[in-house]
């Protein structure tokens, strides 16, 4: 009963553009013929829906239903729902350095964090102490993941978060943490693009994190056990087994940190923390100054070449100048204290 419909297109120029006139051969349809054609089409759909599924895009009939909880469509890599935090699988170190970029850019203001501090010195370290995201108000814009310089915050594919607990959608760091391997699984190409730089930055940050600060909470026990093992193996004659290597590395790192901390204790009282500047930028500068002070005894001399190197970036220059000033001040204070 299929009626061959001849399509014949002609163009008509109107004042507002072209109009395409299609001859659908309507006059050739007798009464009721169109109705029968419709019935036939519907019946074909009915018959095919009983026997097969709609799998190929070229296919026109067949059941297209995806029975959701059991069957799921494969999500595209760029699918984004809510942000998560990444940590390194091996060391347990989080990539986040609490730079506050995400908190600043978040349009609905649902990201909150506090920076970790060295318990011994009270100095901030590039790690995050607590991280909260209110998923219930999050709008899944993905700006936090875009802005993160350390690739620590990424958008997740998980979307089944419904709960009947009030406040159950305010997630803390432990709930937000995912291993890098997880993200690599859901978005392999995206992670491959940023993997090297992210890991490099992480290595840099790890050096400045004392003890277990910056280790993902769920990994703390494991890492501690590993370190203990590494410490037990350290006196052993064959320390450089492949398995022990990371642990060894961590141990060395820890040792280096301990040394740095000792130095910092020597330099106490920390001037920047004492003066407690309210200005964040000043605090940043103070940290830099402290770092600079750590690096060399002659603080002023060390700061001066930094200024000389004349960074192109204005902000960087400003920071450098501030650092130099702070270093000078710190040097003066130390001189005073030594006297």
């Amino acid at each position: 009963m299929m009626t061959e419909i001849q399509t014949e297109t002609t163009e008509v120029q109107t004042t507002r553009g072209k109009v395409y006139v299609i001859d659908r051969g309507q006059t050739r349809l007798r009464a009721g013929q169109g109705l029968l054609t419709g019935l036939e089409v519907v019946f074909r759909h009915f018959r095919d829906a009983l026997t097969r599924k709609l799998e190929k895009p070229s296919q026109q009939t067949g059941v297209f239903t995806v029975q959701y909880p059991e069957e799921r469509l494969k999500l595209p890599e760029a699918f984004r729902n809510f942000p998560i935090l990444l940590y390194d699988d091996e060391t347990g170190q989080e990539l986040c350095t609490s730079c506050f970029q995400c908190q600043r850019i978040c349009p609905p203001q649902v990201i909150h964090m506090t920076q970790a501090r060295d318990p011994a010195t009270g100095k901030p370290v590039p790690a995050v102490a607590e991280f909260l995201i209110e998923y219930d108000a999050c709008m899944s814009c993905g700006l936090c993941a875009e802005v993160c310089p350390f690739d620590a915050i990424k958008m997740d594919h998980e979307f089944e978060y419904s709960t009947d607990v009030h406040g159950g959608l305010t997630l803390n760091k432990e709930a937000l943490n995912r291993p890098i391997s997880y993200y690599e699984k859901i978005a392999p190409t995206f992670w491959a693009e940023v993997k090297d730089s992210a890991m490099k930055k992480l290595q840099g940050n790890m050096k400045r994190r004392p003890d277990l600060i910056g280790v993902a909470p769920q990994m703390v026990e494991k890492i501690r056990a590993k370190r203990a093992e590494a410490a037990a193996q350290a006196p052993a004659p064959a320390p450089a087994t492949t398995e022990a290597a990371p642990a060894d590395k961590a141990a060395r790192l820890a040792a280096a940190r301990a040394r740095a901390a000792e130095k910092a204790v020597e330099a106490a009282p920390e001037p920047a923390t004492d003066s407690a500047p309210t200005d964040k930028a000043a605090r940043l500068a103070a940290i830099r100054a402290a770092n600079a002070a750590k690096k060399s005894e002659g603080a002023a001399e060390a700061a001066a070449p930094a200024t000389d190197s004349a960074p192109a970036d204005k902000a960087a220059r400003l920071a450098a100048i501030r650092a130099a000033n702070a270093a000078k001040k710190a040097a003066a204070q130390r001189d005073g204290s030594e006297e």
Binding site: A49, G62, V63, Q67
Partner: protein, 453 residues
């Protein structure tokens, strides 16, 4: 039923009480039958229409979603019953009942199987039509009592549609009345015995040599007052196989679609235009009552169409089983009940099919369809039906000497009648369809044209 009860209870109870109990029992059985079918219909409609739209439909509750209607029922029971503040409380409350009761009453006269007939009413066909018209009052009450403009609009549309389509429906049923020579529904399946097209006209030549499995005692012609004869009976002499019955069936079925407010005639509850029509202000069990009324109306109309044109419970094997006597009569009854149910369900499937395929008509298209297409066809069909009766039964004296068929055998007369009516019906259908064709190109007077701003 009364007799069975009498034999069981005997003289323990007064006679009128036994009659009353028997009636109540039969009523209960029929209503349960209908409601069980309603439940299955809701499920089937959702599943089938889903497949037609390349979906799966409800398949979670119970095996293949079979318990879904029960889940729906629980939901309906527990929903809050909301009555609008300015509604007419009593009318609002009574409307679903008035809509459901007549529909349930329709079930009383349908022969559900061979020997399974609740009531023998000699005006059963008219009764069906009359009672189904009453539910219009319920719809009107719902529309008015809700104090809602959409409800009122929906009710007006529903009632206008119901009243308009009653005319083609009744006219199509008149065909059956002419063929059967009466309005009783009980006789209709018996009359539709025999073989397709020829009906019960192939007589048994030798009464001794005719197997009771093939031949049974039936009335040879539709509506014939003559004595029953032994004729070949395959249980397939359905009237739908003759030109008259086919046209009557089509007209009646389309009109029944409109009466049952099925797509494409679901204008009264066009949800894209007037929310839910007269059901707009109903919730919970009242809404469910309307829903039940609608489906049972469809069920009853399908049963009526099946009984009037598709042979009712008649089917191959029923007569043979019944002729074997003894307990086989009950088997025959069960088989015949199955046949009727199968026919109803096939018709219901067609309803779902149409729903899956066609969009809703506009009101003016609806009226045009009834008055310009269905009614003329039904009128032509009445003439054809009269010709069938005349050609198969009348003597030449009754024809006034115009037609003399006295010497022909019954099957020859039946064949002549079929051929004549086929020619008339096909010609009339073609002509009516062609004059209803859309004109090839509309010509306008260009001065009249107004270009939209």
């Amino acid at each position: 039923m009364t007799d069975i009860l009498r034999s069981w209870i005997g003289s323990a109870l007064p006679d009128w009480l036994i009659v009353l109990i028997a009636y109540l029992l039969v009523t209960t059985i029929v209503l349960f039958y209908a409601v069980g079918n309603f439940i299955m219909m809701v499920w089937a409609e959702r599943r089938v229409v889903a497949r037609m739209q390349d979906r799966l439909g409800p398949n979670r509750v119970g095996p293949a979603g079979l318990l879904q209607p029960i889940a729906d029922a629980v939901k309906m029971f527990t929903k809050e019953d909301i009555v609008p503040r300015n509604a007419d409380r009593w009318v609002h409350l009574l409307a679903p009942i008035v809509a459901l009761a007549p529909v349930a009453m329709m079930l009383a006269v349908i022969p559900w199987g061979r020997g399974w007939e609740p009531i023998d009413l000699n005006v059963a066909l008219l009764y069906m039509v009359a009672v189904s018209a009453v539910s219009g009052v319920g719809l009107m009450m719902a529309g008015w009592g809700s104090n809602n403009k959409f409800a009122l609009l929906g009710a007006m549309r529903a009632v206008a549609q119901l009243v308009s389509y009653e005319i083609p429906a009744v006219t199509a049923l008149l065909t059956v009345v002419i063929l059967a020579g009466g309005m009783s529904l009980l006789d209709l399946p018996y009359m539709q015995a025999g073989v397709p097209i020829m009906g019960a006209t192939i007589l048994c030549g030798d009464p001794a040599g005719c197997s009771p499995l093939l031949y049974s005692t039936i009335t040879s012609f539709p509506g014939s007052p003559s004595e029953p004869v032994q004729a070949l009976d395959l249980g397939l002499g359905w009237w739908v196989f003759t030109p008259v019955g086919l046209l009557g069936f089509l007209v009646f079925f389309i009109a029944a679609l409109a009466e049952g407010e099925r797509t494409p005639f679901d204008i009264p509850e066009a949800d894209s235009e007037i929310v839910a029509g007269y059901m707009t202000e109903y919730s919970g069990m009242k809404f469910a009552t309307f829903y039940i009324a609608q489906y049972i109306l469809n069920f009853a109309l399908s049963a009526l169409a099946a009984t009037a044109f598709l042979g009712g419970w008649q089917g191959p094997g029923v007569a043979a089983l019944a002729n074997m006597g003894g307990p086989w009569v009950h088997v025959a009854a069960a088989l015949s009940a199955f046949y009727l149910l199968a026919k109803i369900w096939i018709l219901f499937f067609v309803m779902i099919w149409l729903r899956g395929a066609f969009p809703r008509l506009r009101v003016d298209q609806l009226m045009d369809f009834a008055w310009k297409l269905l009614l003329p066809l039904a009128l032509v069909n009445i003439m054809s039906a009269s010709l069938v009766v005349g050609l198969t039964q009348w003597t030449s004296a009754q024809w006034g000497g115009l037609v003399n068929l006295d010497g022909f055998a019954p099957w020859q007369r039946q064949l002549i009648a079929v051929l004549v009516t086929a020619v008339i019906n096909i010609a009339a259908t073609y002509w009516i369809l062609s004059i209803n064709q859309r004109p090839k190109q509309v010509e306008w007077d260009e001065e009249e044209l107004v270009v939209a701003p």
